[in-house]
């Protein structure tokens, strides 16, 4: 049962996967589990599907944990999944959304890396892929996408934390998402959640050129950041990735935008300079609560602005 699960605590991969199974069993009318692939070390890559019916409906994609040491993102994803089922039928916006669209959530996007953070190195960021003749392990999964691959803000040195990998989508964790989203064909928003720095950003990362929908994305980011602020008074800055944070190539949201997903956003969750990746568990619920309002704002806009 998920009733004894503490949403205010960090959990191992096994505990999260066990929670997912129980969660799906308890809410089988609205949630199902899809295995979209497997990791380099052959762990299952699992997606939760929230749906009230109908095939291939318009959908929203949310992923957390692509950088394995960013534990607050997995914890926020779990809380958010629970929030979706508890708010359906109560929250008008979410109910309208789920009556028309599906939500897909990938809570552990980098399972090998995440398991490694629990067993060997809490501060591991990349996946765990190895290649013959290469000493260093792992690829930065947020530099491995086929959009601006190999450009500035990524690294061709396998020992770098931002190593892009040998080729676009060479990593099974990335390829699984690409295959799933591409074959689905009706994903209208993609939100990739990272930590930390308190930012909400949209494409591009690989270029400082504004995207064609820059104004709409900026206005929406502003509204989402404001909704987030109103929960606990936490301020997020917002803007394009390249102008707000840094130039980064081969990243998730650039790929999403270039593949027709207009509402592509990435979060950097709490904090701004005290704990970094080691955010205490006591901040999981507040972080998730405020993130939810921002997510809800983006999801509502996606529902009301079909394209």
């Amino acid at each position: 049962s998920t009733s004894s699960f503490s949403y205010a605590s960090y959990h191992t991969l096994e505990e999260i996967y066990s929670w997912i199974d129980n969660f799906v069993a308890e809410h089988s009318d609205i949630v199902s589990k899809i295995r979209i692939g497997h990791s380099f070390e052959n762990r299952s890559i699992v997606v939760l599907k929230f749906s009230t019916g109908g095939p291939q409906r318009r959908a929203i994609w949310i992923d957390t944990g692509i950088h394995s040491r960013e534990w607050i993102t997995h914890a926020t994803g779990i809380w958010t999944a629970k929030k979706i089922v508890t708010e359906y039928g109560k929250d008008r916006t979410l109910t309208d959304l789920l009556d028309a669209m599906d939500i897909f959530m990938e809570i552990v996007t980098n399972p090998d890396g995440f398991a490694f953070t629990h067993s060997m190195n809490r501060l591991w960021r990349k996946n765990k892929s190895t290649r013959p003749g290469i000493f260093c392990i792992g690829v930065d999964l947020n530099r491995n996408w086929k959009s601006g691959f190999g450009g500035n803000g990524s690294n061709n040195n396998p020992c770098s934390e931002t190593y892009r990998g040998p080729s676009p989508q060479s990593e099974p964790e990335v390829a699984a998402i690409v295959d799933f989203i591409t074959s689905h064909g009706n994903i209208k928003a993609l939100i990739s959640i990272h930590s930390y720095s308190q930012m909400l950003m949209y494409p591009y990362g690989h270029s400082s050129e504004p995207v064609p929908n820059q104004k709409e994305l900026n206005d929406l980011a502003k509204d989402a950041a404001q909704a987030l602020y109103e929960v606990h008074g936490i301020q997020y800055i917002y803007g394009s990735i390249s102008t707000t944070l840094y130039v980064a190539s081969g990243i998730t949201v650039d790929w999403a935008y270039d593949n027709g997903i207009k509402f592509s956003f990435t979060f950097e969750l709490r904090d701004t300079g005290r704990y970094g990746f080691l955010l205490p568990a006591s901040q999981i619920i507040p972080t998730a609560q405020e993130t939810w309002l921002a997510l809800r704002t983006i999801m509502e806009h996606t529902l009301n602005h079909p394209y």
Binding site: S6, Y10, M120, N121, L123, Y246, G273, Y275, G276
Partner: protein
């Protein structure tokens, strides 16, 4: 489990592009030693980097010699990790 006793996270505030460039040089000078939690991007953003205990003296000397102002964001990473592990264990007991 890797031990991070004595490792620190330093927060550096670069004043200009030249200072950012000096921070980027650190990656080359200390390959795989300095782990940028927030990389050198622009002067308006702080740079956070995890420095192993064994490299602390060198890195702080490098920062000081180039006039790079810094503060200690996390004094001992292992202390936080121990607290985190204890909190998880406690929660696991309660869940059971």
């Amino acid at each position: 489990q890797m031990n991070f006793t004595g490792d620190q996270v330093l927060r550096v505030l670069a004043k200009n592009e030249e200072q950012l460039s000096l921070l980027r040089d650190l990656e080359g000078l200390k390959p795989q030693k300095v782990d940028f939690w927030r990389g050198p991007a622009r002067p308006s953003l702080p740079v956070d980097m995890r420095v192993p205990f064994s490299e602390l003296k060198d890195v702080k000397a490098y920062l000081g010699s180039h006039g790079l102002a810094y503060s200690v964001m996390i004094k001992d990473i292992q202390v936080l990790l121990d607290e985190e592990r204890e909190a998880m264990a406690k929660s696991r007991r309660l869940e059971r």
